[in-house]
């Protein structure tokens, strides 16, 4: 375990050192992240005009969800995108061979090689929004915060697993390199509370694409509206997805024949 920890430190250190060369990019990306957050808040103000609510959430409560959503987007941008989206390239060019030959768990190696610090701003803005809104809500209590942190970590696990499975499909569909855009597109529904959707939308975003468990449920816990069954549901989904994605990866590897053969 400590060996893996050491490796992560080496990988991330090298990755960050390379990116620090391009400082202008950093500023431009920071502006982009801020613009996105302002856009989300502006959109929210249109939806909750004149003191109305959005699926039973008032403006401040809904900002918590936007915060969790931005945090999740940051997680995808910083940790998932720069790693998992290279699986397709590895399969196509055959460089996956070298990854598989290393005396390490290949899934670990594929998932932790790089980190994109340009997107760290999204993580910070997400946390900032959550803290800003929470300070104005009297219903935010310590136990709720603890559960929310746990559920956000579960959300990371769920997103990672879905993303990883989508990228693993590259073993069969070599040409389709943009498949994660599909999840990215539908995940945008997560910036709203799931109760804002009509019945069929709620079912879609809870059971088919579990966006509700990733953003609404942690936010609910934070603002003191959490329910035991949804919290357990979110944890269950995360564990289940981790297991399924691991099995799917093993299955995909058995089908891997390298690029030349």
């Amino acid at each position: 375990m400590s060996r893996y920890w050491q490796l992560i430190k080496i990988f991330y250190g090298a990755s960050i050192a390379v990116q620090l060369e391009y400082r202008v990019n950093f500023v431009v990306n920071l502006i982009g992240s801020l613009l996105t957050a302002v856009g989300s808040l502006f959109g929210l103000s249109i939806l909750i005009a004149g003191g109305s609510s959005l699926g039973g959430w008032n403006q401040t409560e809904a900002i918590v969800i936007v915060g969790v959503f931005t945090l999740m987007e940051g997680f995808m941008g910083v940790f998932l995108y720069p790693n998992l989206n290279k699986i397709g390239e590895g399969v196509r060019t055959g460089s996956m061979d070298f990854t598989l030959l290393k005396p390490l768990d290949a899934q670990f190696l594929i998932s932790s090689r790089d980190v994109n610090i340009l997107r760290v701003a999204d993580l910070l803005i997400g946390v900032g929004l959550i803290v800003y809104a929470s300070l104005q809500l009297a219903s935010v209590q310590a136990p709720g915060v603890f559960v929310a942190v746990l559920l956000i970590l579960a959300g990371f696990a769920s997103i990672y697993s879905i993303w990883f499975m989508l990228c693993t499909t590259a073993f069969w569909w070599v040409g389709v390199e943009n498949i994660t855009e599909l999840f990215w597109g539908f995940f945008r529904a997560g910036q709203f509370p799931v109760t804002a959707f009509p019945g069929w939308g709620r079912i879609l975003f809870t059971f088919v694409i579990p966006v509700a468990f990733i953003t609404t449920v942690p936010a609910e816990a934070l603002i003191g509206r959490g329910k035991l069954e949804t919290a357990l549901g979110a944890l269950g989904v995360a564990v289940l997805l981790l297991i399924v994605s691991r099995l799917f990866w093993k299955f995909a590897l058995r089908n891997y024949t390298s690029a030349s053969s």
Partner: protein, 278 residues
Amino acid sequence: MKLEAKIQMGLLENLWRKSKTMFALWFAHMTVYRAEIFIWMLSGVVPLIMMSVWIGKASANGGTLENFNAASFAAYFLAAWVSQQLTVAWVAWEMNFQIRQGELSSKLLRPIDPLWEHIFRHFTERFVRGPFILVVVIAGTFIVPGTKLTPDLWHVLEFLLVINLAFLMRFLIQYCIGTLCFWFENATAFDEFLYVLQTFLAGGFAPLEFYPPAIRAVVEWTPFPYMVYYPAKILTGTLSSSETLRVMLITLAWVLAFGVLRSILWRFGIKKYGAVGA
């Protein structure tokens, strides 16, 4: 026939032949990427997400929200989705790639402005996208009962004209951003700014009726509502013909403005490109 007329005919024929070749070539190219195009198409799902949020909001409000009910929200956002699909442009990414990889050098040797290759790539891609769009529209009108796009053929023709202008506008804006690659390391970040502004101002997020009046007044002076909002209004048959004419003229004006800007940026940029010796 007089000689001049003959030469003119020859030029026209030449142009037609070139267009046919370009179309056939890039259409074949795009059909290879049909799976990826299908996924890009599905990932542009924001108007459909917003459709269900607004329908949810209308039903929580007792069925209507400022003259919009479930069916009219469904029609608007379905039309907005179609408009967004038909105006998609990614030329900034193509240019970023070509300039940074030096691929542009070989394109410059050809006796045709590289602009046309980009246009044909986008144009032929619409024909691959088309059948998928039709399926979604037909399914969409069945999902929410009462959803109607305009039954008037005239409106559809107006829409087709406006949407092509809107595409050219979006394409040229992106092209201008793409030329920034001549000066900046990574101009795709600017494209992301554009994307965010488009998401919230073009009309895919909410009909402009719901924007605060002051903000709407400002937005009207930008090209954004002419990308999605106004085309969608035309397709749902909720824009008067005099308004439609106004929209056409303004979109055309934006097309010309960005066309001129594009030529200027391109001319200066190419000099810069040559100077690097790439």
